[in-house]
Each structure stands twice: as structure tokens, then as C-alpha cells.
Amino acid sequence: MIRGLTGLSDEIVQNIFLYIAVISVSILVLITFLMIYFTFRYHRRRNPHPEDIHGNLWLEILWTVIPTLLVLSMFYYGWTGFHALKKVPEGALKVKITARTWSWLFEYENGLKETELTIPIEKPIHLQLTSQDVIHSFYVPAFRVKQDAVPGMTTSLWFRARDLGTYDVLCAEYCGQQHAYMLTKVRVLSEEEFYRWYEEKGKELQMKKPVGVPLGERLFQEKGCMACHSVDGTPRVGPTLKGLFGKTIVVMTEGKERQLKVDEDYLRKSLLEPNADVVKGFPPIMPSQKGVSTEEDITELVRYMKELK
């Protein structure tokens, strides 16, 4: 019998994997052994006169029925495991995930927004995913869970962490140029540590004035701008924002080149209609902030960009 079909997601997956692996490897070894053995035993040198055997009904039935039973058992275990992976326990900590090209945003119940996922150990975490633009997939190999984030739809998954530590989060559904870099972390803290962190952050949020980090910079992180735009002068997928304000740049407008001086209006327009005037040499792939960011956020972001000297 299989153990652990109700335990942790990684144990469930691992156990079913092992079950299928044992059967599969046995079948593979059997087939390969017979194939090689027959080839030697009945080689033309040893067996010059073949024997015609047209078939054997009992054998056919046997090797239809046995594999059918085997695969049905695999189906059954896969199903029960899946059921456990899907059934969210009571009292789980809820976190909303918004995926966008190419970063993750985690939103806690108290309104806290983070770009890394911080969770308490042993507590079930219920994640609700959606996407702002194209399909992404939230994948934590360590917990062996994965779920697509689809625009216009909410999907969900849950898991529970057994050990403290930091684990990789990867995007598993191809989403464009920087797909391989759409990475973040899951930080697993002890329960007290987590709640201390959670409440501190919650207080900061209420004061509307985060300690240390200015609002514009926080928004810049939160909105995922840094996935494509650097603030230190290195060009990424998009142009760097360092010293951008006041500079004269060449943009493509409806397929034609033109020059313009970067002012507040241009920055604002680039956020709302990013593909209207694209800086020459960069692809027109920036997602629009229309309907995604509030008016205050945009004002704040523009103010932040103006100050990037």
C-alpha cells in the first residue's frame, strides 16, 4: 500500500512517483531482457529453422488485462493524490498571487503587497492566482506544486512547508523573453517570526509611509517594473530609467522614427499606452497600466522616475 496520500504535497507526489517507477522499471527490464535474450537465443546461427507461431489468445488476454489493472491502479493513486493536493484544509492562510510579465506579486489579507512569498512553517497556505497579461505558472519544485495563472480567471492551490528555509519559485508556462528570469522565493519562517514580520509590515502599511523605502520605489518593485527596467544604467528588456527625465530620445511612433524630450506627459503616457511611442531598439511588449494602477500610483511612479538621476 501507498503511504502518505494525505500528507504534504511533496510526499504525496514522491510516493506516487515511486509506485509508478517501480512498476515501470520492472516492465522495462522485462521487455529489454526478453528482447536481448531472444535475439541471442534464437540468433540465426543457433536457431536456423524458425517456428511459425501466429499468436496465442490467452497470452493476448493476459497482457491486456494485467496492464489494464496496473494502469488503473496508477490512475487511482494519481487521483487520490490529486484530490489531496486540491482540497484546501480549513484555516489556511490566504494569499493572492498576481502574475504579470515577468514578476510575481503576493497580496496578503491585510493588504500587504510583496514580491516574495513569506509564509509560516506548518501552516497550510492557500494561494489564489490570476494573471494580468498572459498565462504564467506558479511552480515551487521543492513542494512539487504547480498551478497556471490565467488572465480573466482565478485558480488556486495550497501547500504546507515542513522545513524552514528559502525555496525557489519558477514560472513554468512560457511567457516570453524573460520567462527564464521570472523567479522569486518562498521564505519559510517559524510561526512567531512570521507573525512578527506580518504585523510589522501591516503597521507600516497603515502609516502609509513605509520606513526606509520611499513610496515610488516600493510601487516600482510592486508593479514589477524592475523585471525590465533598471535604475542603474544597464539596459535590460526595456531601456534603463536612470537619468531618463529631460533626455532627448528616439522613439518609434506607428512605425516612424521621431525624436522627443522626455517630460512628465511622456512618462505618464508610457505607463498607460506603452506601445504608442516605443524607444528605438526595444520591442513593443510592455503591458499597459491602464485599469491596473490607480491614478495616485501613476503620479507617484512618475514622480519617482523623475528623480532617477
Partner: protein
């Protein structure tokens, strides 16, 4: 009797080939064009592997990499494996094996090749026009394919046109099998290769239009924005995936069923005994074709489709594994008490069974719901389908080339070299693809330009494998091409085959048969 190479008909030289309605010439046209695209596909695969030899950018930029793996997929799937066996060997040998002088619609057959080339031309043209090479992956998933600035419309149109060619070939093969069998060639005297092509042809006819309309809608979405798949306009992107996989999963059977047919041809000839369980193999082809059309949802277990749908699709998926298993067991039993000569074709056929078994068995892990949650969209999947499609269909094509080479060209290749080439291919193949299974289990997602440092050693090993594999390919094809011109003259029946193609001269005459044969025994009766 002059061979089909010598009789030209209305045109001369080059024109006598591209305007020929002779099924054998069309088969060779396909051979040349499909293998050329294969060479490009291999080159792209080589570059992808080279980029992944070390973490971080190695020889290209992310956008280039994304275009490369997309083109690798599009070329290998739509230009190589889907048309591969039906269009090359089906065209060349199906009519001969059933005792016919040509296919049912020779002109339509030629048209299919032209359409195939047209589709390929559009796909190639799409690289240099519009926003440049397509970067969506061969699956063209919406909404990414609606947002990306590259030239999706033309590439998608190219694939649509290729689908048209596939449908026409399918119609031709079904009609030929029904109408043109020689007297005495009953359904259960058909060689199993014909059964494989026949089952495939039905899939081609019935599901290709579904992907056709899906691609057309994607095209309309790009050009006029009808909004059927676009979530921004209320469309459901998952419906695209449903429609896409309604075709593209059965397409896997379009790739593998004819390959299974080839294996069923090769094994009895070199074991010098009849095939074990003829009817079981024939009917399992049909079972795979039918049940295989209703399992598409197993590509969507983590996509957000309903859990009930996932469970049903998982069950159906496991059921379709059984007929494939039945085939493998029958093949292995065919070796029992035979008189086996390990000639190159048989070596490739046995390798097919081994690699296909790994491919099939790794598929079970993906069919099981819980494990698929982890394995979906990782290197496990990449390893799995390369085992099935390259280890399966690819090695079947190599086997078929070595088996039918003397018949197609009237010359024999160098008999020792294929063994060395096989050694390189086998070692290279497993060094290339087995690490992918391990990488997948460790959580390496597919379609990644770059990877985390813990995946480095296996990625490195995999790249080394690609070099060995390519060495084997060069040696094998080098031998074949060299002997195409310099090989000794082949006898008409070098392997002692009992099917009809071996009863006529090599290469076959223009009309295949002087007189339509009267068939009085099964395809694998050597006494």
C-alpha cells in the same frame, strides 16, 4: 523493364520530378524535402543545447533562444514527424504493398506535396517579415501569441496550409486502401504498415480541421481582433488549449502509428517467422486512433480546467496506454523461436522498442494526476516526448530507411557502418535525453533560456550527448548518401521479405506491377 527513374513521361529532368504524379517519385520528393527540414531542425536543436551548456547567456540572447526553440518545434513537428512516414514511406510503399499501380488520386497526391512546400515557404517567409521569427513555442498558446510583436500571422497561416496537405494525403490513403487492393488482398492480409497508415489517415482527416479552425481564429484574432480567445475581450484562453490539443494530441498518434507499422514490418522479416498476434496489432492501432482522440485534456491538468475533467482525461489516458503495451508485447513475442539476423533495420527496430518503451512508461507519470502537477512543463516532458517521437518515430524512420533503401534506390549501403552509427546514436540519444528526465524531476522548467546553478551538471551532460548524437546522424546519413551513388547494385529481395514490394524489381518499374498480382497468403508467411 525500365525502373521508375528512367521513365519520365511528359517532362524532362527536374520538371519530370516536381510535376510527376507517380507515387514513388512523390515519395522521394517528400523524402528529400522532409529530410532537408530535418537537418535544419537538428541544427536548431544543436544550437539550443549549445546555449544551455552553461548557466547564463552563452552564445545568444533570450529572444534568439525563444525563436530557436519555437522553430525547432514547428519544423520538427509540422514539417518532419507529422508528414514524415505517411508522406514518404506511405506514398512509396502503401500502393505497392496492396498491389496497386498508384494511389487513388495521383494528381491530388502531387498537389499535397506542392501545398506542403507552400506551407513550408510561408513559414520560412514569416521569419524575415513582419516582426521577425515567431517566439511563441510550437503550441502558439493564447494570449501570448496575440500579444507578442513577432510575425505570428504568417507562421500560423503556414501551419494551416500544412494541415491542408496532411488532410489531402489522409484522404488519398484511406481511399487507396479501400479501393485499390489487389484481388485476394483481404483486410487481414494487409501488411501491418498499411494498417498503421490507414489508422493514421483517419486521424489526419478527422482532427486536422480542428486545429485548422483554431489557427484560423488565432489569425483572425491577430488581424481583426474577433475576441473569441482573447481574455481582454471576454474570450476564454483555455478554450484555445482545448481545441489545440483536440488535434495536437492525436497528432502524436499520427506520428507514432505509422512508425509502429514499420516496426511490425521489419521484425518478422529478420526473425523469419510470422508476426505474433497480427489481429491484436492491427486492432490496437485502431483502438489507439479512437481512444487517443479523447485524451487531449491531459495536457491541461494544471491549466485551471475543472478537476472532474482532469480526472476523466487521466482515466482515458491510462486506457490508451494499454493498446501500446499490447503492441510491444506482441513484438517481443515475435522474436520468440525465430531465426534472427541482426541486420541494421532490425537493430533500429529493437532500439525503437526499447526507447519507445521508456517514452511510453515515462508518459504514465504524466498521466497520473498528482505526479503531473509536479512534472508538467518541466524537462521531464521534454525528455518524455523526445523518447517517444525521436526514439520512436525517428528511429523507425532510420529503420525504414535501412530496410527499404535497396528497394527505393536499387543499391545497397555499406553494411558495417550502420552498426557504428547506431552505437553513436544510441549512446548519444540516452546521454542527451535521459538527463532531461532527471532534470524534470528536480524541477527544471522547459523553454528556459537560463537555469539555476544546481541544474548545471546534467545540462552539461545533455549537451555532450547532443554532440555524440549528431556524430551518429552524420555517419549514418553519410553512408546512405554515399551509397546512393556508389553502393553496389541491390538484389530485388535482399532481406527475403514476403510482402509485395519485395516481389518486384529494385527499383520498382513505373507501373509497379506488370500484371496485378493475385494474393493468396498473409504478408508474413515465409514458407
Amino acid at each position: 523493364m525500365p525502373s521508375f527513374y528512367e521513365e519520365n513521361g511528359r517532362f524532362r529532368g527536374f520538371w519530370a520530378w516536381i510535376f510527376s504524379t507517380d507515387h514513388k517519385r512523390i515519395g522521394l520528393l517528400y523524402l528529400l524535402s522532409i529530410l532537408s527540414f530535418y537537418a535544419i531542425g537538428v541544427l536548431l536543436g544543436f544550437l539550443i543545447r549549445l546555449e544551455l551548456i552553461a548557466p547564463g547567456p552563452t552564445i545568444m540572447r533570450p529572444q534568439t533562444y525563444n525563436a530557436l526553440f519555437t522553430l525547432h518545434g514547428v519544423i520538427m513537428i509540422f514539417l518532419f514527424v507529422i508528414p514524415g512516414i505517411p508522406a514518404i514511406f506511405g506514398n512509396f510503399f502503401l500502393p505497392i504493398q496492396i498491389g496497386a499501380r498508384d494511389v487513388a488520386f495521383p494528381k491530388l497526391n502531387l498537389l499535397s506535396w506542392w501545398i506542403y512546400m507552400g506551407g513550408a515557404a510561408l513559414a520560412i517567409l514569416s521569419l524575415f517579415t513582419g516582426g521577425g521569427p515567431i517566439d511563441t513555442g510550437w503550441t502558439f498558446y493564447v494570449p501570448y501569441s496575440l500579444r507578442t510583436p513577432v510575425n505570428v500571422p504568417l507562421a500560423v497561416l503556414g501551419v494551416f496550409v500544412l494541415g491542408f496537405s496532411s488532410i489531402l494525403t489522409g484522404i488519398n490513403m484511406v481511399t487507396t486502401t479501400h479501393q485499390l487492393r489487389a484481388p485476394g488482398m483481404t483486410w487481414f492480409r494487409l501488411p501491418l504498415f498499411v494498417w498503421g497508415i490507414y489508422a493514421t489517415a483517419w486521424i489526419q482527416i478527422l482532427v486536422t480541421p480542428v486545429v485548422g479552425i483554431t489557427l484560423l481564429l488565432t489569425l483572425m484574432e491577430r488581424l481583426v481582433g474577433v475576441g473569441i480567445f482573447d481574455p481582454a475581450k471576454g474570450g476564454d484562453p483555455l478554450l484555445y488549449q482545448h481545441l489545440f490539443w483536440i488535434y495536437s494530441h492525436p497528432a502524436v498518434y499520427i506520428m507514432i502509428l505509422p512508425a509502429m507499422g514499420i516496426i511490425s514490418e521489419i521484425l518478422p522479416v529478420f526473425a523469419r517467422r510470422t508476426i505474433f498476434g497480427y489481429k491484436a496489432i492491427a486492432f490496437s492501432s485502431l483502438a489507439i486512433a479512437i481512444v487517443g482522440s479523447f485524451v487531449w485534456g491531459h495536457h491541461m491538468f494544471v491549466s485551471g480546467q475543472s478537476d472532474v475533467a482532469s480526472v476523466v482525461f487521466s482515466l482515458l489516458t491510462f486506457l490508451v496506454a494499454v493498446p501500446s503495451g499490447v503492441k510491444v508485447f506482441n513484438w517481443v513475442s515475435t522474436l520468440y523461436k525465430g531465426s534472427i539476423e541482426v541486420a541494421p533495420p532490425l537493430l533500429f527496430a529493437l532500439t525503437f522498442i526499447f526507447l519507445f518503451a521508456i517514452g511510453g512508461l515515462t508518459g504514465l507519470f504524466q498521466g497520473a494526476l498528482a505526479t503531473d502537477v509536479h512534472l508538467h512543463d518541466t524537462y521531464w516532458v521534454v525528455g518524455h516526448f523526445h523518447y517517444v517521437i525521436f526514439g520512436g518515430t525517428g528511429f523507425a524512420i532510420f529503420g525504414a530507411l535501412h530496410y527499404w533503401f535497396p528497394k527505393m534506390f536499387g543499391r545497397m549501403y555499406h553494411r558495417k557502418i550502420p552498426y557504428i552509427a547506431w552505437g553513436l546514436l544510441f549512446v548519444g540519444f540516452n546521454t542527451l535525453y535521459f538527463p532531461m528526465l532527471l532534470l524534470g524531476w528536480q524541477g527544471m522548467p522547459r523553454r528556459y533560456f537560463d537555469y539555476l546553478p544546481q541544474f548545471h551538471s546534467l545540462q552539461f551532460l545533455s549537451t555532450i550527448g547532443s554532440w555524440i548524437l549528431i556524430g551518429g546522424l552524420i555517419l549514418m546519413f553519410g553512408n546512405l548518401v554515399h551509397c546512393l551513388f556508389k553502393g553496389e547494385k541491390a538484389e530485388s529481395n535482399p532481406w527475403g521479405g514476403a510482402t509485395l514490394e519485395w516481389q518486384i524489381p529494385s527499383p520498382p518499374p513505373r507501373e509497379n506491377f506488370d500484371e496485378i498480382p493475385l494474393v493468396s497468403k498473409g504478408p508474413y508467411e515465409y514458407r
